[in-house]
């Protein structure tokens, strides 16, 4: 009986102590917690870097990236050279209703055209609106954070 009373009082002591501590709840729409810089919120597209190589669309596990492009002839750089052919992006859509936020597309992109942004407030009442086109994806570029420094002992990689 003594042990039971002690157990009850011990528990009550913990709840009382917690009551005196400040609350950890964040009242979301009024106050906002900043996500970590690495948080995978939304994918941003830097359109001028994209070469329509389709690597991201092919490596996506649930095929939620839709890319269309065409080739254009540009005049040669030097006098008498052959005209260059340039790939131009017509359509770059990511369907965020399907996206698993795995980040494989960002990782495979060989020309650094895709970036993660920790922004997360883009929910829509209509599911079709979650298909972000390339203009909308380009707007997210402003929110992409700078790469943060690494912990002690990490190997510093040279710029590619």
């Amino acid at each position: 009986m003594k042990r039971q009373v002690k157990g009850m009082l011990g528990g009550l002591g913990i709840t009382f102590r917690t009551m005196m501590q400040p609350s950890v709840t964040v009242q979301y729409p009024h106050e906002r917690e900043e996500p970590t810089p690495r948080a995978r919120g939304v994918i941003a597209l830097k359109e001028e870097n994209c070469t329509v190589c389709m690597l991201c669309a092919r490596s996506c596990p649930d095929w939620c990236i839709y890319i269309e492009g065409h080739k254009e002839q540009r005049p040669a750089r030097r006098e008498g050279g052959r005209p260059r052919s340039v790939s131009l992006l017509d359509r770059f859509d990511i369907d965020y209703a399907l996206c698993m936020y795995c980040g494989i597309c960002v990782e495979v992109c060989p020309f650094d055209a895709l970036f993660w942004s920790p922004e997360f407030e883009y929910s829509e009442p209509n599911i079709a609106e979650l298909l972000h086109d390339k203009d909308r994806l380009g707007e997210w570029m402003e929110t992409v954070p700078e790469p943060e420094p690494l912990e002690l002992g990490a190997e510093i990689k040279g710029k590619k």
Binding site: G7, G10, E155
Partner: protein, 400 residues
Amino acid sequence: MKVDPRLPTPGGIPEVDIDPMLYRHLAGAAVNVELDTGDMILNLGPQHPATHGTLRLVVRLDGERVIAADPIIGYMHRGYEKLVEYRTYPQITTLINRIDWLSSFANEVPFIFAAEQLMGIEAPPRARYIRTMLTELSRIATFLLFLGEMGLQVGAITPAFYGFRDREYALNLIEAVTGGRFHPNFNRIGGVKDDLPWGWINDCRQSMKKVLDSCDDFENLVAGNPIFEQRTRSIGIVPRELGAAYGVSGSNLRSSGVDWDLRRDGDPYGLVYDELDWKVWTHPDGDSFARYWVRLQETRESARMVLQMLDALPSGPIMAKVPRIIKVPEGEVWVNCENPLGEMGYYIFSKGATGPFRVKIRSASFSNVSILPWLLRGAYVPDVITILASLYFILGDIDR
């Protein structure tokens, strides 16, 4: 004493307060002979809060006592074993994150280690340390949720809030490194994706101290509470031979007195457990309280392990040299590991393509749940919830 649970142990059932066979006799006897009330068939679920998902439990009741229970699984079957045959190795880690969504980092590690073994690649030491740390952090996150939620299932609402609050310490740390709270997708063949961010070690040290404090709180608030003890003591006893025969593993088996942990006794699957100083906790009783107590001690032990690893973290690269397009050579491999919920294993059969030819996934909860028909027979209806909560399974882990 080390006991391989697959072998029959001499000495019979260990000393427990109530002979668990008594339950079976009680279940066989007709309780209400005079009244002849007849049986009632009751559906628990598929949407029942105590089942953490969609587990349907058909129980036949005689009064308040369960005569027979039949768990019906498969409501969340997503066909992972077939799905991964059509994906490449880097894509598969995103899928197997979703098997056991509470400890998804621990799901990735054995799969990646199996592929590494087939390719003959070994991850560098710093990558192995980061993997081990994040595996233990996901174990802490899983168990802290259990510690709070187990109280909720037996009627105490305060620990549930504490559990969800304290789990954030571990989840925030995982998010700061991997970018994802629940689905990290952080392991790569040959290492990990990224190094730790600046200041993480300091944050982790402080958070682990908070976790150790909250473990003390749970010990006093829940495990020391007389009502909680009465609700859980000698409820749902798993005898050690029977548990081993059903394939129950992990902390559920350790709380039946079997001193068996794959982190220590098995192949360490590329992690650094053999370099750490830690202890495997067991409890002789095998009841719901023992399962709670063992998980409480294991949370503490994991926090201590993380603190040790923070001190011993080596410097160096985090990726071994791997080809750009990953093709795993022909062969087959079986890797099993100690997940928070129990033994998890991957059998990979490769034919030399960019994806596996066949993958068999052994998940812990599937075997843990298979003992339910035996365990629930003769229990009272409120105890059904206690037993379901204390076995601690994840439906995604059962159905895959």
